[in-house]
Symmetry: C2
Subunit: 338 residues, 2 copies
């Protein structure tokens, strides 16, 4: 694995220059900075473990980046990290990136300049190589919820595949054979894995005869409304069961179903994902796959504090936390079935 000396040699500067550049104590001419960045990228250099490791001293600050703090899933996750940080006497500095790459990069640069001693990072779009490189050189870091494939740091996700599987089995066991999956794209693991699990669950019960359609988009109320309007417009050709894979998609879906006079579960069965919002009070109470959001927050900080970067360059393992299907009143056999 490349070390500081290798980077310095390739960039044709001293070790001290690289070190001070990385910790933000040195402003460099653009060309020199670019040469160092290129060397880091080409050598897949990860800053020395012991030099950057969290010391757990009393004034340590952990940075936490989330795409959208207004989403109950993220805000509850943040609250869980905050509670755990408080228990360990750490300060927490939160940054909402609005799910925009340039804002993520800008905050990552802040952190690289020594404004935090560790980072918990969540993005909600496909994380590219340049973003991964910033993460790899930001110091101790954990990636949570959605993957940044080229990031060489510990990763923590909920078991998306198992969640999709539970939803698919449950709907197929209720007699459904025509499904609509509303959720993320295949480039994001939440989309790919929930969809793969959903298909597997349905096929286990219904075989190859089942028909599954997919509406892909961001995890927003607006995207839920769009998918729901397309669904309503199809009339008799509609699927009989919908898997809306976030609380926000579900809210948008429920709004449009209400407005259209369609009844859940009489006209269509619905299963949600996240279950952080008050779905138990909805009309009807919505069956959903519950994410272990508070456990994710607690575990993310534990992973960050406990992580020893691997000197041999192997990727740290990915950790999955289990999800649970919470059955309520939004699923029934399709109309016309026995």
């Amino acid at each position: 694995m490349a070390n500081l000396q290798d980077v310095a040699q390739r960039a044709n500067v001293s070790k001290t220059t690289v070190s001070r550049y990385l910790n933000g104590s040195l402003e460099l001419p653009k060309r020199t900075a670019e040469a160092i960045d290129a060397a880091i990228r080409e050598l897949a250099y990860v800053p020395n473990a012991h030099a950057r490791r969290l010391s757990l001293g009393r004034s340590e600050t952990i940075a936490l980046m989330v795409p959208d703090i207004a989403t109950p899933f993220f805000s509850t996750f943040v609250a869980a990290v905050e509670a755990e940080a408080d228990r360990r006497n750490l300060s927490l500095s939160l940054h909402a990136t609005l799910n925009r790459r340039e804002r993520e990069i800008s905050y990552l640069d802040h952190i690289r300049q020594g404004r935090a001693d560790g980072l918990i990072f969540i993005t909600n779009h496909f994380g590219d190589a340049a973003l991964a490189e910033k993460i790899n050189t930001a110091g101790p870091c954990v990636v949570v919820d959605e993957d940044v494939p080229a990031a060489r740091v510990p990763k923590l996700f909920c078991d998306n595949e198992a969640g999709g599987h539970a939803a698919g089995r449950h709907l197929a066991e209720s007699g459904h054979r025509h499904f609509l999956f509303i959720g993320g794209v295949d480039e994001m693991i939440s989309g790919a894995r929930r969809y793969a699990g959903f298909l597997r669950g349905i096929r286990e019960v219904a075989g190859a005869g089942a028909r599954v359609e997919r509406a892909a988009g961001p995890y927003t109320i607006a995207a839920g409304r769009i998918a729901a309007r397309d669904f309503v417009a199809r009339g008799a050709e509609r699927p009989t069961a919908i898997f809306a894979t976030s609380d926000e998609l579900l809210i948008g879906l429920c709004e449009v179903l209400h407005e259209s006079g369609l009844n859940v579960p009489r006209d269509v069965s619905v299963v949600g994902f996240d279950d952080v919002g008050p779905l138990h009070l909805f009309a009807p109470a919505v069956t959903a796959v519950r994410q272990p959001v508070r456990e994710l927050g607690k575990r993310a900080l534990e992973l960050l504090l406990g992580h020893k970067p691997d000197e041999h360059g192997t990727l740290p393992p990915e950790e999955l936390l289990p999800v649970t299907l919470i059955e309520r009143n939004s699923v029934a056999p399709p109309t016309g079935s026995a």
Copy 2:
């Protein structure tokens, strides 16, 4: 109004010492630091306006402290500040204090040490004089949502009194004469003002004959459940209408009413406050006073950036944003009325 020279004289140190102590660039012996703190307190000194004013340069960081980031009201508020900060090319550093005074003080000390160029502060408990003093010396600051009475900074609230008034009038006009108010204590302006407005609205319609009871506690789901269980236990002696003055109190209330088999609005009418959560999807959809939460976030940052501390020591004015009653399906005439 006291200036830096007055503080230095009283603390028996140089002006430079006070200045460097306040901006965090000087570590002082405990006794000296205490002498300066005492002088600041006794003279009600507020740091010089121009020296601490936001320069709006490109790397400015605004700090934002909220009690509980998991509450949709606060998380939506934070998202609105973040969006406005993004528009102005400012960085935002968020801190969730868990509504604990010592954690607020600790983050305020961070900010005082120059880790932020301005502060938007929200507490959700009664803010005492020591907390106010930290706020008064933290640099440019705006207090939002709940008052810290001794803080000499601009303040921004929703129009709590008007919200209570609208709820009271609406329930009284529907025929109710026996009410339960679930909400904050009189030491907090949200509690005092919503309650005062509620009484005024009821009296306008129903005169002095109306009976209003009050269950005071924090704005949490747990407190909503406790108040609701007391309510249910009273049987025939129950009020016929409830004003639950936060989304969390409302959720706790609705859970217990569902569990008890009581129907809204047949058995009891309910009005909420905040209306940030998806109350329109509840069974039944809940009538509520809507807080202008996104406008509060945007306006808080504007106030912070636009504020020129008053050299003459007069208190900056308090600004109120209007609220709106959103009528849905949770209010009906009391059973037995015409």
